[in-house]
């Protein structure tokens, strides 16, 4: 009889690693989801509930240029200008930074607390938080205004999809990418985009001003 008990145990043993693996890869089952939802409510989300079209509904985890872990809802409450870059980029990225600075200058009369600028790397392997920090310093990006983010390749791809941003890693280490500045309202909804380099910032500035006034 004992022998049979052992035999019965065998499939259990085989089943075990498989189950664990499944749970790791799987999105949360309803019960687990409730648990985590109530946990976030209990802990630190001082901000309002996210709207349905908020990009901050993405649950991915990021790191800023200080190496601090953060989630996108932390960007809530400010109008954010968002662009995707990689610091090894020699042609377009410096120009997109220049375009963003031009917009920043135009917005000088606005309260610093109302507008943020977010740069998201498309090259997480090379753009570590330390590298992003160096890039921010080299380009004199005011840390009270500029947030530089890196994350898992998957998370970056997901955010790029919501920003309608196309990019592709080339074999030579370059990244072909669209050049785009997106404006998110204080809830994280995409409200305006300018595409291309050296575009007149007027429309984007107006979009930001309008949003700030509505704050």
């Amino acid at each position: 009889m004992k022998r049979y008990t052992y035999l019965l145990l065998l499939p259990l043993l085989f089943g075990l690693p498989a189950c664990q693996e499944e749970e790791l890869g799987c999105c949360s089952k309803p019960a687990a989801e409730h648990a985590s939802a109530s946990a976030t409510h209990a802990t630190a989300t001082p901000t309002a509930a996210l709207t349905d079209m908020s990009l901050y509904n993405l649950e991915s985890e990021w790191q800023n240029q200080e190496g601090r872990k953060m989630k996108l809802p932390e960007l809530q409450g400010k109008v954010q200008l968002v662009s995707m870059i990689f610091t090894n980029c020699s042609y377009a990225c410096p120009r997109i930074i220049a375009d963003l600075k031009r917009i920043e200058t135009e917005l000088q009369q606005l309260d610093r607390d109302d507008v943020g600028i977010v740069l998201v790397t498309m090259d997480p392997e090379r753009d570590t938080p330390a590298r992003l920090k160096e890039f921010a310093t080299d380009n004199k990006l005011d840390p009270s205004r500029w947030t530089l983010l890196t994350g898992e390749a998957e998370a970056i791809r997901e955010l790029s999809a919501l920003l309608n941003m196309k990019y592709k890693q080339e074999l030579d280490g370059n990244i072909s990418h669209a050049n785009m500045i997106s404006v998110l309202n204080e809830q994280g909804e995409l409200v305006h985009q300018q595409e291309g380099l050296g575009v007149s910032p007027e429309a984007t500035v107006q979009a930001v001003q309008g949003l700030v006034q509505a704050l």
């Binding site: 693996e21 079209m53 509904n57 919501l162 074999l171 291309g196 050296g198």
Partner: protein, 260 residues
């Protein structure tokens, strides 16, 4: 005797993990790695694809319905418009019956967004295939892993693509089976890929070539090599027109897995 069984069990415990990783999951086939020149690639620099596993069939309506039962946040009424547009699973309301039991239960699920497809695959411990992986696997005819030079194969593919979609898509098992044992890579539905937004073919670059450099950093834009492969061209063009929350009546997906 008792001791003998204990030893046996311990041995299984130790090797179980290794065995589990080498076993190919049910309904997946291994795709041996290799190189190929993608449509917008450079013939001097073929793209390398590492060996990977790919689902034999596109995900069916019945399978997708089971996923929803476990993950109600992806139900039609619950899903956020950010992650799926209003046509999400539209065909379940009209004609094809509900997926789990209806006439279309073995047909590929369509009207699903990239986010939904991605979540489905993650729930299976899988992921969406990359464009390169998908295109590499789709190069196969019935008897050759790479039918890139086979004009007859292209012609047949073109004929498939030029047929209108039937009201009810055929069951996945009835579709074209290629060299690897993959069904429906051609002639059934379009399929989502992980990096569908990597094809740099935007409206502006098509209408005004001089603007390319203003829009893109890098050189990989628009330099199609194998225009002969019009079928692949259609796929690249289609992908570049998609957004991640779009749902389309003939766009489905299948999942992939890296080989550990």
């Amino acid at each position: 005797m008792k001791r003998w069984f204990l030893i046996l069990i311990l041995t299984f415990l130790a090797t179980g993990q290794a065995i589990a990783q080498k076993t190919i999951p049910q309904h997946m086939v291994p795709i041996k790695g290799g190189t190929f020149v993608p449509l917008y690639g450079d013939e001097a620099a073929p793209v390398e694809v590492k060996g990977f596993l790919l689902d034999k069939y596109p995900v069916t309506n019945a399978e997708y319905a089971r996923f929803l039962a476990d993950n109600p946040k992806w139900e039609k009424d619950a899903v956020k418009p950010l992650f799926a547009d209003k046509n999400y699973l539209r065909h379940w309301d009209t004609g094809q019956g509900t997926a789990a039991t209806g006439k279309a239960m073995y047909s590929p699920v369509t009207n699903v967004s990239w986010f939904a497809a991605k979540a489905y695959c993650e729930c299976q411990g899988k992921r969406l295939p990359t464009v390169s992986e998908w295109e590499f696997a789709a190069l196969a005819s019935e008897d050759k892993p790479n039918a890139a030079q086979d004009e007859k194969f292209y012609q047949r593919s073109l004929d498939w693509y030029s047929k209108p979609n039937p009201d009810i898509l055929p069951p996945v098992q009835n579709s074209f089976r290629n060299y690897y044992g993959l069904y429906g890579m051609i002639g059934l539905v379009w399929e989502w890929t992980q990096d569908f937004n990597s094809a740099l073919l935007v409206g502006d670059s098509r209408s005004d070539a001089s603007q390319d450099r203003q829009l893109f950093c890098g050189a990989g834009v628009n330099g199609a090599k194998y225009v002969g492969n019009y079928v692949a061209f259609m796929r690249y063009a289609f992908r570049s027109s998609l957004k991640a929350n779009y749902t389309v009546a003939n766009l489905g997906f299948r999942c992939a897995q890296s080989i550990k």
